[in-house]
């Protein structure tokens, strides 16, 4: 099923995303054990982490700072907030309650922009602590049911988390994927997290429901175990279809939590709600309110970097490309927009500058080896038709391999020179005369015949003809 496929019979999709992000602090949220991925099990533990009798939590100031960066980057209001206990029993939850934020979270009422100026509301982004990790052994699938025992590692217990809850404004699986990708880019830009879905430092829970326009929102299902951006799209597509099929065959969607199985491409019931836990939220008596001073908030806001969307907008404006297009996305994602700016400042053709970097600089990182003015020079050569596009591509590779150089000299060395328009017209006339059949087919509307003509010209010109220019001439001749 493709990403943008609409649901049949007028069904509409409503999606909300809850993203948990592990913060890039040195220590845990409420205690001073290390916050480190990959260490030997149970080597980053302390009384608080293990929920030992007598342990007390103390809030990590840097976690608060990073959480504020996230909130401000998402256009939230940062407000006085409190902590609550969420009570339930599970072995990876050492105190049998999680310290989280309930009715007064740190960040509220923000938004995130998607391509096409689609605005997705962010309801809240609050602080909480992560659980330990349980691994299940025995049983056939290594999954929960039917296993023989579980082993618990509490290294992750207490790691600082920010939970970002979107409003249910997402309408397609493509938007959901864009939301996650953009959120990730923002988290990386502000230095709040390394946001690696494959390592679990960024986790998505997807809420899906369907309804028909003008009717109330449908019952939603929460989908867990969605471990990649691609899975976000696939899971939504499957779940939406499952709900529609269920309703249309006379069934009702049950409010439940479902598990996404990436291997089979299906969601399955995980949690039945009959014995649903009552979390008995109450204010955490071991902590005191967090009231960030306005000066602190202002300081964090002032120190925020230019965010990816703003960078893409600026790049798009500079280079005359679509701000939601691939070149803007790719170049900013790689952190190469400042480089493109330099190339343009050195006189480079703006549009060509961004496209060259997009197409050829994947391996280069944020500080490419090719000096900006050398690349600028190349864009000018192509713009002024001193070399063909094909030749320019070759020279680009040469530049990258050599780490820079005098492109004019490199072009001469290769014997590149573009043919002027008059020479091209003559070559086109000659080709038409040599291939009357192809020319007739082309004039009759067979676009494929164009390829034969252009190919013949390129061959006879030994690559000195610019393919695009030749095509243009043929097209305008046919039009006459």
């Amino acid at each position: 099923m493709s990403d943008n496929a609409t649901l049949p019979n007028g069904w509409q999709l409503v999606v909300g995303l809850e993203v948990h992000v592990e913060l890039a602090t040195k220590t845990k949220m409420f205690s001073a054990s290390a916050n480190r991925f990959g260490d030997e099990p149970n080597t980053n533990i302390d009384p608080v982490t293990l929920g030992l009798p007598g342990a007390l939590p103390v809030l990590n100031k840097h976690a608060v700072e990073l959480a504020m960066r996230i909130g401000l980057a998402l256009n939230c209001k940062v407000q006085p907030c409190t902590f609550h206990r969420k009570n339930y029993f599970y072995p990876d939850l050492p105190k049998a309650y999680q310290i989280t934020q309930y009715d007064h979270p740190l960040n509220v009422d923000g938004f995130l922009m998607l391509p096409g100026d689609v605005r997705i509301g962010v309801e809240r982004a609050h602080l909480e602590e992560d659980t330990g990790k349980s691994t299940h052994f025995g049983g056939s699938s290594g999954r929960i049911h039917g296993s023989d025992y579980s082993l618990l590692d509490y290294n992750r217990a207490g790691v600082p988390l920010v939970e970002i809850v979107s409003r249910p404004d997402i309408r397609t699986s493509e938007q959901a994927r864009q939301y996650v990708a953009e959120l990730r880019a923002i988290l990386l830009a502000v230095g709040a997290s390394d946001a690696k879905m494959e390592e679990g430092s960024m986790r998505c829970d997807v809420n899906v429901s369907v309804h028909k326009a003008g009717t109330p929102l449908g019952t939603r299902c929460e989908i867990k175990n969605v471990n990649s951006i691609r899975a976000v799209g696939r899971a939504i597509d499957y779940e939406a279809r499952r709900q529609v099929d269920l309703i249309e065959s006379g069934g009702t969607v049950r409010q439940e939590t479902r598990h996404w199985d990436d291997a089979t491409g299906r969601t399955e019931t995980l949690r039945t709600k009959e014995d649903a836990d009552d979390y008995r939220y109450f204010l955490e008596p071991d902590l005191v309110p967090l009231v960030p001073e306005q000066s602190w908030i202002d300081q964090v806001r002032a120190a925020l970097p230019v965010l990816p969307a703003a960078r893409r907008n600026a790049l798009a404006e500079l280079c005359g490309v679509d701000k939601d297009g691939e070149s803007a996305f790719v170049v900013v994602e790689r952190g190469q927009d400042d480089y493109v700016r330099e190339v343009v400042s050195s006189g480079g053709d703006p549009r060509r500058s961004v496209i060259y970097v997009q197409q050829a600089f994947a391996e280069q990182g944020p500080t490419p080896k090719v000096p900006a003015r050398d690349l600028a020079e190349l864009t000018i050569l192509e713009r002024d038709a001193k070399v063909t596009s094909t030749q320019a591509k070759t020279l680009l590779t040469d530049l990258i391999d050599a780490g820079g150089g005098d492109v004019v000299a490199m072009a001469a060395k290769r014997g590149f020179e573009a043919l002027d328009t008059g020479a091209l017209e003559a070559m086109v006339d000659a080709a038409i005369a040599a291939e009357p059949g192809a020319w007739q087919k082309y004039c009759a509307g067979e676009e494929k015949a164009l390829g034969a003509l252009v190919g013949a010209i390129m061959k006879s010109s030994k690559g000195k003809a610019d393919g695009k220019a030749v095509t243009a001439i043929l097209q305008s001749k046919r039009a006459k």
């Binding site: 007598g54 007390l56 072995p91 105190k95």
Partner: protein
């Protein structure tokens, strides 16, 4: 039996040794502990080692701490690294914490000699120490009677001379009431002045650690050592501990002392008589007695018995047999949880967990826990109004003297009423202490409770010292 301050003076001056002092206390333990059962664990070997070290330091001219050589007992709900800490519960029997509570570290740094961990009502829930899973403690003054609770063992240890001082914890009166029943001094300080790090939590917004001693000066001395800001406790007040010893001789001339006119009923007449005598003593010492009203007092028991169990139900959920403590094995996790907690917890603990879980649950939160928090505000406001007119307040500590074993165990509510005078200060977070002041008609000690406002320890101790002089 020596006072704490005398021991320190003797040990630091060389007129006695820590070893001699600890041997004296260990001998008393040997003589009567089997009868009294103040301790879950006597740490005689380590105590002797610690005493010897103090003596070596004194001989070598090294500085020793403010509690050098003082034998101290700790309620068995304070974490002592490598030393069994059970909370008098089967679920923690055999558990050795991998860390020390902050107060324990402070005591060790001050040169105190820890002689053992004392018995308590299981998880500090009770008023008689009859809820201990390891058998009750007996009142050293009459072994057919309870020592009070929940810190019954700590009170008895001082009363019987097993330790020169002890630490207890007070959530609804668990230091003050046993102090009154055993004829010793017991102090619950302002909430936030003594660190709770390492104190096994019962009700987080009510618990405080405090001293039991044989006199007011010792209590002031010990409290000064264990008080102070702790960065490991977020509820710890970031102000230095008040100087208390220095005010003990200032007397109460010119002070205004409150008499609560709407005190809840149920107090024995002989106890009330001692309260009157206490007011007389204050008048004679130059204080003015002022009537105060605390209209919300009558609702405090309800508020407390909704708030404390609610917090406790959450604090005790960690006892699930997964990481520490005793586990009862079962085929699956939920069955293991249930079997572990069923066999590990006593009846009173289960009852309070049930009550607390109910009070917090969906649909009942506003009616119970939510309302209780508002009643808490009312009593706090009542006190605030009263303290505009007075510097301290006197009440009985306990409605009766030490009662007989088994006399209140049939009806939980009857036991809860023991705390009717002590609970309000926990709700408000205020300090209060019990000072022995005569005896009742059964010749058992009566304690008078001195209350003061937040951080009002100096006023409280001035009054307490005067009471003691008059007793």
């Amino acid at each position: 039996m020596q006072k704490l301050v005398e021991i320190v003076a003797g040990v630091t001056s060389g007129s006695t040794t820590a070893t001699a002092v600890v041997e004296e206390h260990l001998a008393r333990i040997k003589a009567r502990e089997a009868e009294i059962h103040a301790f879950n664990l006597v740490t005689a070997d380590q105590a002797r080692k610690d005493a010897a070290k103090i003596d070596d330091d004194v001989k070598a001219g090294k500085a020793v701490g403010a509690l050098a050589g003082v034998p101290i007992a700790l309620k068995d709900n304070m974490c002592t690294r490598g030393v069994e800490t059970t909370c008098s519960s089967k679920i923690l029997q055999g558990w050795k914490p991998p860390y020390d509570a902050t107060v324990v570290t402070k005591l060790r740094n001050a040169g105190a000699v820890i002689v053992g961990k004392t018995n308590l009502d299981e998880f500090a829930m009770g008023s008689s120490t009859e809820n201990s899973a390891f058998g009750p403690t007996r009142n050293p003054l009459d072994i057919s009677r309870v020592p009070g609770g929940s810190s019954g063992g700590s009170a008895a240890a001082v009363s019987a001379g097993f330790a020169a001082a002890s630490l207890g914890s007070d959530t609804g009166g668990s230091i003050r009431q046993p102090a009154a029943l055993c004829g010793v001094v017991g102090v619950k300080p302002t909430y936030g002045t003594v660190s709770r790090y390492g104190l096994v939590a019962f009700a987080s917004s009510l618990d405080q650690i405090g001293p039991f001693t044989s006199d007011v000066r010792d209590a002031a001395t010990l409290l000064e050592v264990i008080s102070g800001h702790d960065p490991m406790d977020s509820t710890s007040i970031p102000q230095p501990a008040a100087s208390l010893v220095s005010v003990l001789d200032q007397g109460v001339k010119g002070m205004r002392i409150g008499r609560v006119t709407d005190l809840p009923e149920g107090c024995e007449p002989d106890v009330l008589a001692r309260l009157e005598a206490a007011f007389d003593a204050m008048r004679n010492a130059g204080a003015t007695i002022v009537d105060v009203k605390l209209p919300s007092l009558q609702y405090c028991l309800t508020a407390y018995y909704l708030i404390a169990p609610a917090e406790a139900s959450s604090n005790l959920a960690r006892y699930d047999g997964v990481r520490y403590g005793n586990r009862v094995d079962a085929a699956d996790l939920n069955a293991m949880y249930a079997a572990t907690r069923e066999s590990g917890f006593g009846e009173e603990v289960k009852r309070r967990i049930m009550l607390g879980t109910y009070a917090l649950s969906a649909g009942y939160f506003d009616a119970y826990y939510g309302k209780a928090l508002k009643v808490r505000r009312l009593i706090s406001d009542d006190f605030a109004r009263a303290y505009k007119d007075v510097d301290a307040i006197l009440t009985p500590t306990s409605p009766s003297t030490a009662f007989k074993f088994g006399s209140k165990t049939d009806n939980p509510l009857a036991m809860y009423l023991c705390d009717v005078f002590t609970i309000p200060t926990n709700l408000a977070g205020h300090p209060a202490m019990s000072v022995p002041f005569g005896v009742g008609s059964d010749s058992m000690p009566v304690g008078i409770q001195v209350l003061a406002t937040t951080m009002g320890e100096q006023a409280m101790f001035k009054v307490a010292a005067e009471l003691e002089r008059a007793s």
